[in-house]
């Protein structure tokens, strides 16, 4: 029996989802929420979760506290306010985020309903081999982390040791390096791993570049391939328009 409930209980994405559900279920106006009623049902739900040994996440308690606070504000009129100095309905504190969340749910629904690539519509798949002009017998393999780290060691061997570390290294920001890398690739469409380190003698610089490479490969904005006989690693732009247009 409990098993049934647990599965269903997970339907609620969070406290906002639960609140929205209670408002709809009770057919009440979002701008005129009967706080006491909604709060009772909300707490009943939390109790049920506990009785089923489900951890009630902190976020649920936070909203419960907000509900209790609003309820108290409604019960105890504030003293010291003039009639004209109209106080805002304390419930607005809850209404605003609820409305925003409700809109986001609708937006999520329109996304879910749109034609999705790989679910509703499909495109041709072109095997990666076609990215290369293959000489007969040569092999190309997509490069993993270990190959990249090995290549980094090669580069680092030639590096001068950093004598001083600048602590205000704002000049070499990670994001800038990523953008720089994407710009280089956008210009040439492919480049070898070693070429990317040209002119970089300092370890800190090299490592920053390497981290940037790891990041763009991880995000699959760039793909790394290794030419088997020579061991040369080449980086390719994975998408036409890259991140350069990103910000």
């Amino acid at each position: 029996m409990q098993q049934d409930y647990e599965v269903k209980l997970e339907i609620f994405e969070g406290p906002m989802d639960l609140l929205l559900h209670l408002i709809r279920k009770n057919k009440v106006e979002i701008y005129d929420i009967p706080i006491a009623l909604i709060m009772d049902q909300y707490l009943a739900y939390l109790d049920m979760m506990r009785s089923l040994n489900i951890d009630v996440a902190g976020e649920f308690l936070e909203i419960a506290a907000t509900l209790a606070y609003i309820k108290s504000r409604l019960l105890v009129p504030r003293i010291g306010f003039d009639e004209e100095e109209q106080e805002e309905d304390p419930r607005m504190e809850l209404v605003r985020p609820l409305l925003e969340y409700a809109k986001i749910r609708e937006a999520a629904q329109t996304l879910a309903d749109s034609l999705q690539l790989g679910r509703d519509v499909y495109v041709r798949n072109i095997p990666t081999e076609e990215l290369w002009d293959l000489e007969s017998g040569e092999e190309i393999a997509e490069v993993g982390l270990f190959e990249l780290v090995r290549a980094l060691h090669e580069v680092l061997k030639k590096a001068e040791p950093d004598e001083l570390m600048e602590l205000s290294a704002e000049t070499m920001r990670f994001k800038d390096r990523i953008n720089q890398l994407m710009e280089i690739l956008a210009g040439v469409s492919s480049i070898t791993f070693h070429e990317l380190f040209a002119g970089q003698a300092r370890k800190a610089e090299i490592i920053l570049t390497f981290l940037a490479i790891l990041e763009v490969v991880r995000l699959q904005m760039v793909r790394a391939f290794q030419h088997q006989p020579s061991g040369i690693i080449r980086l390719y732009l994975a998408v036409e328009n890259g991140i350069a247009s990103g910000d």
Partner: protein
């Protein structure tokens, strides 16, 4: 001339990614803007017809041949795939990022009311969102935005072709829209206490 149409068709046929108009123009530099756009429009109309299983779609600021949705079930048989669906949590998070980008994790969490760390990781892995940079405030929080891939996956021409928040608000009054099955399913557990 139908030559230009045939050339563009061949480019679209082999392209791995949606082809932007700029790209097509740079390849067909001997043709005018009008000739190219007219050819694209002719192609679009031709493939939209009943006789074709795929159509010319305008997605992610480019053009791409895509199978028509009505033939999806046959393609899934060929590829033996069951499409993975994004969870409600992922869709909500994605919607927030799409509409409010550039956006911080904390801002997403304040709208959804729950932790989104795991969901963000999933969306990053699926390349639907990307890191735009870090905000220059204490803690240097990461700024998120959607990707080109997001536009491709959700068949959007560009980010502005999403319905606006106002349009979404008009479509539905939040206090009335609820799917019946969803509502009754949930009622049981609330009343069952």
């Amino acid at each position: 001339m139908n030559q230009v149409r045939a050339i563009i068709e061949s480019l679209l046929f082999v392209s791995e990614v949606p082809l932007s108009l700029t790209k097509i123009k740079s390849i067909l530099s001997m043709y005018t803007h009008v000739e190219i756009t007219e050819a694209l429009e002719q192609l679009r109309q031709e493939y939209a017809g009943d006789g074709h299983g795929f159509a010319l779609a305008e997605v992610a600021q480019g053009y791409q041949f895509r199978s028509k949705p009505e033939y999806g079930e046959w393609i899934r048989k060929l590829k033996r795939i069951t499409p993975a669906r994004l969870s409600q949590a992922a869709l909500e998070t994605l919607a927030i990022i799409a509409y409010k980008q550039p956006i911080l994790r904390a801002e997403i969490e304040s709208i959804r009311g729950v932790d989104v760390g795991g969901v963000l990781r999933l969306l990053l892995e699926k390349k639907l969102i990307k890191i735009l940079g870090r905000k220059n405030v204490p803690g240097r929080p990461i700024i998120y935005g959607t990707t080109q891939r997001f536009l491709e996956v959700f068949s959007l021409k560009d980010i502005s072709s999403l319905p606006t928040m106002e349009e979404i608000g008009e479509l539905s009054d939040p206090s009335t829209t609820v799917k019946d099955d969803e509502a009754s399913e949930r009622e049981e557990l609330i009343d069952g206490s």
